[in-house]
């Protein structure tokens, strides 16, 4: 973070007044700290995507294929014909500007091209020029007239502008909540990124996780033995803290349920503690109720960076979940805490890779609850599953073990605006800890702010961008931190756990980040456990330090 301006510098740099020159006359200026590095050609090649090559965004020559304009134009046409959303959203925006100050990247940077309306206009301008009658007629009168109706030709500068700003959108959909026509910038960014991928213009923080996920089953490229090693290591931790030995099973045929979670939970703090929470919960349920669940090293990724590449790549990565469920012969699937993973599962998976007719409609083996809302996809969110357990009094909980925490909850973009999972995690949190405070109403639930690093922007080289985008969320956390002494920001998303940790360190020191199931793990009383001296982070529980001293 050495190059990143200090928080007060970053704040004082924000200027919401747009430049005096019109946006079409303001050429793109690719800034260090904002852009992400170009995709590693090996990763692009591994999954068979076109035009793998070494290229550098800040160099003049991007080594584009000769006929790149033709490829883009053809790709654009195809997508207009395949997605009504794109076609309608290209046509009906009235530029009322309601979306302008809803975007976290605009709020944190003041860059006018980060207003959702303008981000979309970057593409719309080319659409008007190439695909609309009005654009063609008026454009033929002269270039000035073109500008008046907001049409322009696609050239290298425009392409670079697309690339720069489409990788400054985290597809969070907050703007679409406020748009009177529901125009969803995420749809536009998704299409735009698909087009860029047609000519090999991905960023590495997306392309390499995609290649890793394709090969090893997860973004981090964890191979099966390392995956199991890590989990064994967690099991040791649990034994140390609770005195109970947990034994998760992997790739086990005939298990009743398959569990899939983002690999960040296995390898990245503080997500690892969430993983420990899952392991404890499953162990508890196994001991008490004979719960039968398996993890998979093949489908060891819930997240899906293919979603940030193209619909096709999303489908190729997502296919592993059903394939593995079928191979192992499980009845249904539980999914861990993750944001965009759940948008993919909820809104895309069944359509892309279903029907999952080899699975059964999910029924909780412990409470008998039928998850009617998941009867076709056959995949249940762990927060839904756990909330149901708590509601039926199936968990023994000692909430005082979370008393050192003053907790607030960050709704992740995708589960709130692409699903509607709002109450389930809150219900779980309120039942496992005693101090819960909501952030201001305009920053939570369907109006929640992105962590600033979603949709594959969680790289290191674009830290300034991430801190800009993280500002609105962090500012709301700061409010409850100062007002109520909140010291723990909970969430149900692996990217959040990684991104918010950095954002809190930068904007609100003193606030840590946790997954919901870490707090479940803290509170859950395992059968036969010893008196706990520490929480899952091996930090002394309140009151226990003194006990030690005495």
């Amino acid at each position: 973070m050495s190059d990143v301006p200090k928080p007060d510098e970053l704040l004082s740099n924000i200027d919401y007044r747009p430049s005096r020159t019109g946006w079409m006359d303001t050429p793109v200026d690719i800034q260090k700290g904002i852009y992400s590095y170009a995709a590693n050609p090996k990763s692009v090649e591994y999954v068979g995507l076109p035009y793998p090559r070494q290229w550098n965004p800040i160099e003049e020559d991007w080594q584009l294929p000769e006929n790149w304009k033709e490829i883009i134009s053809k790709g654009f046409r195809e997508r207009l014909d395949r997605f009504r959303s794109v076609k309608v959203f290209m046509d009906i925006c009235v530029r009322c500007g309601a979306c302008a100050d809803k975007c976290h990247f605009f709020i944190g940077s003041g860059d006018p091209k980060n207003m959702p309306v303008l981000r979309a206009e970057l593409l719309r301008s080319v659409y008007r020029n190439d695909f609309t009658t009005a654009g063609k007629i008026i454009g033929s009168i002269g270039k000035n007239f073109k500008k008046i109706i907001g049409a322009r030709e696609l050239d290298l500068q425009v392409l670079k502008e697309w690339w720069y700003y489409l990788f400054q959108c985290s597809e969070c959909r907050r703007c679409s909540v406020f748009c009177p026509y529901g125009i969803d910038t995420a749809e536009i960014t998704i299409m735009g990124r698909e087009l860029l991928n047609l000519i090999g213009l991905n960023i590495d923080w997306i392309a390499t996780p995609v290649a890793n996920c394709y090969r090893t089953g997860n973004h981090l490229g964890i191979q099966p033995h390392a995956y199991k090693d890590m989990m064994d290591f967690f099991a040791d931790d649990i034994e140390e803290i609770t005195g109970v030995k947990v034994e998760p099973s992997f790739n086990r045929k005939g298990a009743e349920i398959l569990f899939v979670t983002p690999s960040g939970d296995i390898f990245a703090d503080p997500g690892t503690y969430t993983c420990v929470g899952y392991m404890m919960l499953f162990h508890y349920l196994q001991e008490k109720y004979g719960f039968d669940i398996t993890w998979s090293t093949y489908a060891s990724e819930g997240g899906n960076f293919g979603f940030f590449t193209s619909h096709e790549m999303m489908k190729r990565l997502n296919a592993k979940m059903y394939a593995e469920a079928k191979r192992l012969g499980v009845k249904w699937i539980i999914g861990g805490e993750c944001g965009h993973m759940w948008r993919v599962i909820h809104q895309y998976m069944d359509t892309m890779n279903g029907p999952a007719d080899f699975l059964e409609e999910p029924v909780s083996p412990i409470t008998g609850t039928k998850f009617e809302n998941a009867k076709s996809t056959k995949m249940v969110h762990i927060a839904e599953f756990t909330a149901d357990l708590i509601k039926h009094n199936k968990l023994e909980l000692d909430t005082s073990r979370n008393d050192h925490l003053k907790v607030t909850y960050h709704d992740s973009c995708n589960t709130s605006r692409g699903m509607g999972l709002l109450e389930e995690p809150r219900y779980v949190i309120k039942n496992v800890c005693n101090n819960f405070y909501e952030m201001p109403a305009n920053t939570i639930r369907e109006q929640t702010f992105c962590c600033g690093s979603g949709s594959g922007l969680n790289a290191g080289e674009n830290m300034e961008l991430r801190m800009q985008g993280g500002l609105p969320r962090a500012n709301a956390v700061k409010y409850v931190h100062e007002k109520h002494g909140v010291n723990m920001l909970s969430c149900v998303c692996a990217i959040d756990r990684a991104a918010l940790s950095a954002s809190m360190e930068y904007w609100v020191p003193g606030v840590e980040v946790t997954g919901v199931h870490e707090m479940v793990g803290n509170a859950l009383i395992l059968p036969g456990e010893q008196k706990r001296m520490t929480d899952l982070r091996s930090e002394p529980l309140p009151g226990m330090e003194e006990d030690d001293a005495e």
């Binding site: 303008l118 008046i148 529901g182 996809t377 605006r417 709002l422 389930e424």
Partner: protein, 345 residues
Amino acid sequence: MNISYMYSLIAVIILFLLAYVGVKFPGGEVFFGIIIPYLALIIFILGFINRVIDWARSPVPFRIPTTCGQQKSLPWIKSANIDNPSTTGGVVVRMILEVVFFRSLFRNTKCELKESDKISYEWEKWLWLFSLTFHWAFFTVLFRHLRLFTEPVPACVQLVAKLDGFLQIGLPGLMLSGVALLAAVTFLFLRRILIPQVKYISLGSDYFPLFLIFGIAFTGILMRYFTKVDIVGVKEFTMSLVTLNPHVIKGIGGVFYVHLFFVSVLLVYFPFSKLMHLGGIFMSPTRNMVNNSRAKRHVNPWNYPVKIHTYDAYEDEFREKMIEIGLPVEKMIAPETPEEPEEKE
């Protein structure tokens, strides 16, 4: 000076002159009174239908509603069936609220950076209020105009006119809708030039319809209250258009033809412009879909098979390591290359 609105303003002034002067030429009344309006109406209807069909031709491959409330999941959690519809009924109500009351715009907030480090979000009702006023006033004006195109005039049209003029100011009575329309258009224009961000994103094609609609409202008010157009003559003329027996009536006056020409231009402009949001909102997949994609499978008509990395390929690459650490495998390593004795779980 901003060229976007200057060009648009000039365009509207030219249109004004075209009609005002044009009708004075021989055949001008027939051209501006009969030929242009008929053509405009045909272009509007065909253009509108064509655009909607064009949208409909593209499928909706995925179920992508923007969910703005609690999903329907566990029975004891109250779901928001309007903002996050789980039933078709919920979608219908959501769409009605959106189309009739601009539900989403109602949420609008204004973000401000205060005391250099505090971000606040205040409810911003003005855009919502004036947009709603604009659309409702426009609709009311349009509806009232049915009295010129029907004989006898339906009771509902008379009732709306009566309500619209309930203040009973002046003679002929002041119609609130006309005043509201003019005020709302003025507001929408002013915010486009006064709010820096909105000015920055505004195109000529945003100002043009505002000026045009301002012109329509202005000429309408001019005729009704000031030049006192020969309303009996106007009705005779409009009825002749409706009954497809068109003939011009002498002495209706230039302003009337300007009014009619502006309306015709708006009709022609409509299908090729952003004004198509009128049709588009009904087609918006983030608003008009039920959020039940996990309960009911949504079918993508162009779904095609893709290349995936199969479990077998995965195991082939990692088999040795998997066996070594005790993970179950489908195929044991062939006996001819035993690195270590086979183990069974």
